[in-house]
Symmetry: C2
Subunit: 343 residues, 2 copies
DNA sequence: TTGAAAGCGCTAACAG
DNA sequence: CTGTTAGCGCTTTCAA
């Protein structure tokens, strides 16, 4: 049941000109009707609408925006992994704010690949997104410099390198320091660190916070219990088992993000006297599992970043600023097990 | 440091024409250089590129696509909630396939609102997405009928109403039936059902599967233990507590999706002899928590739907088809607690 | 109330 | 190797 204009099984989409011809009016009149503009007689309007429906016409917003000079209403969000709840919560927070301003979120993921990051950014800019929210994977963002004063760009979660733009971060170093101090207070001295890729700024900062706390407590040889660069649950589980097999074994673990916490938990299943555990990032069901975390609000980060974007689009040209969100320890049991009680 | 064309704090973006003028060549030559086409002398090319960089030029893909008649390279995905792992896993599965075909995923969420669904669909179509992946919230999709033969549309998770298009579903009824039968086999007769909005087709089917199993087992008055329409964890927790307070209390629970399972788990925390539990949908850490589920693969659903889209775009005009993905019971302990052992 | 002509930024077709 | 002309689908003058 293809229309007469079917080409290779695909019907050609009618243009406004065809609708106008079908209705026996000029292009402009058809345009007026379909855009709800005044000064058209009811009869004419009805005829145009009838023709549009009959042909399956749908306005081409792209062409409209090109002519009217209006930019698109979409805002790009670049994250590393769509399926990581941490990023999808950022996306949700941002989407709510943007939608309230009539903007649409376009999400793309990089799989933590800096080449992908750059090409996605370029592509979105060529598509003329109004603004860009970026959780960077790359290590140099100077290529975004020419956008200054053109397209508002806000970085989230990780700071930009060689680029000055609005940024929303979490206080990683202080958060990690507090989380580890929490374990030290329970009497732990041998504390294992299970971390993600150390090329990520967030991870380096959390590692630094870990070191801060250990050094402040005068613990020696804490480096022995550091396992970094596990970017998925399986690797984190392996690192955890590896730590538990050390002699003497650590009595506590600090996991540096949600993925590593999940991996560690997997490795700890069935262990009779599991080490104490504090994880960076809160996660769903952490309360049911009784896992103490260094929590913060990804939605909040998305919300604030989106609000910056909206402000910039509304003409705010104040100097770029960096917002650092606080963390807080949420004690749920796993982080309060005393060192004396482990093994 | 705005450029000379700054308007309201925003620099105007240079056009190809301006680049050409700056480089002292024609429009077409500039176009050739910036598109990497042959037959341009190195010297000219260098001059054009220099001008482009100096002006901060970025090709306008929208205009290019308009002129070349090429449709965009984006595919729209409409889901109800970006932050529900179930949907983000669908998105990830789809994105991988699409990217491999040079297509970009554009995600938008509806918050389970059918008005939102329709307006997002219309908007994406006006933006000329190449195809549409829809997890519907609405109850009538006839408005998509004119797209037949124009834009490939694939429905996921829930079937379309009054519309014939490719669809990828999960075998909800059989899955629920099997999950409940699993509980019945462990001797349970009083089984509580904690369900999501019953206007959702998936929920009605899972409810039907629940009823199938109960009736086949000759259980009477099972309706007493049915609590539907909880769409968030808090409500599901309340329904669960309500069920546990019934006299006589159910010895087992069947939760009809990931959100309700999480809510139930929250309500069950600290209960000395918790009821047996089987949940529909697998979820992260279910293994650590020892929760028996009726599992299936959301990524797979996204992948298959995206593959249908790609096939359609490549000219496949075979009749539309519905793929129903199987589920399987993953026993992890919570669903194997015998009725005799509860209270 | 309606319409004709021009042009948004770009590429295709055809000259030079 | 380079340039000129036309036109994608639409809106914006400006005129009737």
């Amino acid at each position: 049941m293809e229309g007469p204009d079917a080409v290779g099984g695909r019907a050609a989409r009618p243009t406004l000109r065809q609708v106008a011809a079908e209705a026996g009016v000029s292009l402009k009149t058809a345009s007026r009707v379909l855009n709800g503009h005044p000064h058209v007689s009811d009869a004419t309007a009805a005829r145009v609408r009838g023709a549009a429906d009959a042909l399956g016409f749908r306005l081409n917003r792209i062409a409209r925006e090109l002519r009217s000079g209006a930019t698109s209403t979409s805002v790009g969000l670049i994250i590393s992994d769509l399926a990581n709840p941490f990023y999808s919560r950022i996306a949700r927070g941002a989407e709510r704010v943007l939608r309230a301003s009539g903007l649409q979120l376009v999400t793309a993921s990089t799989d933590e690949d800096s080449t992908q990051e750059r090409s996605l950014v370029e592509e979105l800019l060529e598509r003329r997104v109004r603004a860009l929210l970026v959780v960077p994977s790359g290590t140099d963002h100077a290529y975004l410099e020419p956008e200054h004063g053109r397209t508002p760009v806000v970085f989230l979660d990780r700071p930009p390198v060689r680029l000055a733009v609005d940024t929303v971060l979490v206080d990683n170093r202080a958060g990690a320091r507090a989380g580890v101090a929490h374990l030290l207070r329970a009497g732990h001295r041998r504390i294992g660190f299970v971390g993600d890729l150390s090329r990520l700024a967030t991870q380096r900062e959390r590692m630094a916070g870990f070191a801060d706390a250990m050094q402040a407590a005068g613990v020696l040889q804490w480096e022995r219990y550091v396992r970094a660069d596990s970017h998925d649950q399986a690797t984190a589980a392996r690192s955890t088992r590896d730590l538990l097999a050390t002699d003497p074994a650590p009595t506590a673990l600090f996991t540096s993000n949600n993925v590593n916490t999940a991996g560690a938990l997997r490795a700890l299943t069935g262990v009779p006297t599991p080490p104490a555990l504090v994880g960076f990032d809160d996660f769903d069901l952490a309360d049911v599992l009784g896992i103490t975390v260094v929590g913060h609000e990804p939605e909040e980060m998305g919300r604030i970043a989106a609000e910056r974007v909206v402000a910039r689009l509304n003409g705010d040209d104040s100097p770029h600023r960096t917002v650092v969100l606080p963390t807080r320890i949420i004690p749920r049991g796993s982080g309060e097990r005393a060192a004396a009680d482990i093994r």
